[in-house]
Symmetry: C2
DNA sequence: GGTATCGTCAACCGTTTGGTTGAATATGGC
DNA sequence: GCCATATTCAACCAAACGGTTGACGATACC
């Protein structure tokens, strides 16, 4: 699977990774801090970050001993552009986005 | 994986399935006709169509002995809306879409 | 130098994916 | 009834996924 669009969509198909992306929307974060809210091992999060990096959705830069993760919206834009051709979507429906984002977050958070 | 967004993005992560969607953009098609341009078995295409159906991206209706496949843009819209929050994408960049669609198609077609 | 912290690597495990083939199940035409 | 067409089912396979654990390599701190 080497097609960039394959990689982007596959990376987006996991709720953990989507949640990581929404976290990075706020600010750049270190790997340990990304992992903190999740109920899984640091190694698992490290793998998720590698998948997001390979898909170009984030970049990682090591400064000292911490590795900083940064959102890279270009790959997401490519995927978004691909989808624009279907269904004449409303340009930006922020209300609907807000609703989806909330349902995503509430689903993923611990009960 | 039962989250609708998981299903939609996973379904989109395969070039064969994306190509099927672009074909259905033109018109509804029977399973056999969907399968015709691909170099894989009918059963494989049938599975791809099942994945697209489960994701809600298409619907299938049997009339007589042929099963018609129809694009269902709502699930795609949900995925698109999710992505709108990242990077303040241009509302609709049709040039870029055109380029991506072409590169997709040229990649997928037989040489 | 010694120790704690940050992050990845390697090996393993069970499940899912994307494909194959061959048989089976409609339905339609004559 | 008989044959062809349309589609799926079932069993199989190799590879990828998502997670675990434990060891390991860097870097920072004192």
């Amino acid at each position: 699977m080497t097609d960039p669009l394959d990689l982007a969509f596959a990376a987006l198909s996991d709720a953990t990774r989507r949640r990581i992306l929404t976290m990075l929307l706020e600010d750049d974060m270190a790997v340990t801090d990304v992992a903190e809210p999740f109920e899984m091992s640091l190694a698992a999060i490290s793998k998720h970050l590698a998948i997001l990096t390979r898909a170009g959705l984030i970049s990682q830069e090591k400064r000292g001993r911490v590795k900083w993760c940064k959102l890279e919206p270009d790959a997401l834009r490519a995927a978004s552009v691909w989808m624009q051709g279907f269904g004449q979507f409303e340009p930006i429906n922020l209300d609907a986005f807000e609703r989806f984002l909330e349902s995503e977050l509430s689903e993923d958070r611990l009960p």
